[in-house]
């Protein structure tokens, strides 16, 4: 469970483009590729949902 949380946090910060050198090193040395790939796919879906939601919000504002 702890590995999954770390992976999600790592991918989230990768989305932001911000990560400390120590965490990056930890992720690359201890993390498993498959866990990061799944976390990446899930957060991509979350990101797209947020963009979609923001567009819907803008459309509500328009009408």
């Amino acid at each position: 469970m702890r590995e999954w949380i770390r992976a999600f946090v790592g991918v989230f910060f990768a989305f932001l483009g911000v990560q400390s050198e120590a965490d990056r090193r930890y992720d690359f040395e201890k993390g498993r590729f498959s866990v990061f790939a799944v976390a990446g796919l899930i957060l991509t879906f979350v990101f797209l949902s947020i963009v979609y939601g923001l567009v819907q919000l803008a459309l509500i504002y328009v009408q």
């Binding site: 400390s20 803008a58 459309l59």
Partner: protein, 364 residues
Amino acid sequence: MTKAITLAISLIAIPASADWQINMNEGVTALSREIFDLHMLIFWICVVIGVAVFGVMFYSIFKFRKSKGAVSEHWHENTTVEVVWTVIPSIILIAMAIPATATLMDMYDTSEADVEIQVTGYQWKWRYQYLDEDIDFFSNLATSREEITNEAAKNPNYLLEVDNPLVIPVNKKVRFLITSNDVIHSWWVPNFAVKKDAIPGFVNESWVKVEEPGVYRGQCTELCGKEHGFMPVVVEVKAEADYEQWVADQKAMKLAMAGEASKEFSMDELIAQGEGVYNMSCAGCHQPNGQGIPGAFPAITGSTIATGEMDKHIDIIVNGKSGTAMQAFKEQLSAVDIAAVVTYQRNAFGNSMGDFIQPSAIQK
């Protein structure tokens, strides 16, 4: 002293600001004002950000300068600061996108138009076709060649005047379907705010609802060849009754023109009319003196076409010549205009064929 300087600056600034502007036009439509307001909102957001960022930067440079003994820090990262400067701009961008989306949605809402007009770009003129009325005409530059070549004084609407302006009614939603016959042009009237590319094979849409009758001028804004600067847009916005009258006049004029085509003209009448048609439609390439531009546009003087068979001469004007810049004029000129310009070209610029053709013999 400070008061004197302020007064001097304001005295210089007031007449200067009346003569020219660097900000965009506020325009004459609700949409143009909406775009202007959005532009100003984004502008002031950028000003605030600029002042804050550069303020901190310049203050830091000044306060912590080397001569005061400042020593630079050496550290690699600060995740908190990086997150803050990533998240805050994202929030600002999203906040700006919301009113921008509202304006864009309005710009693209061409539904429920009262009048629909197809605007087609040609090298180098505009064609306006009223889709609900049987009105179809070309709008050519009306500035004289003498003004362009500095042989006459330039009038205030120099290069912004046409023979047939686009006419639309005030307070009615007018939808434009914008396309092109040859290369990419762009139809733009600054007071209407929206500018649209005219692309061959594509139809772009735009709309306008002008609140003030008047004459509004614009230009082609996509480099489209030699006479790109010579195809202005002029829109005359009329009160509804005046617009209805104009529509009736256009229809009457079309009937009269149809009658003209069957009339018999003398050679002198055709040459007189042909000179005007030539200057409007041919002189741009073949030049006002008929000498053309060697290597680009052939001369009319001594031309094998203008001094050859009449049928071939008419054919090249009516249908153009593929693979060259010679366009087909069958849509642009009436039978009378074609007969006139053919007759003129065969009997002007040193050509003296002595023959002429009647409009009724022109097969379009």
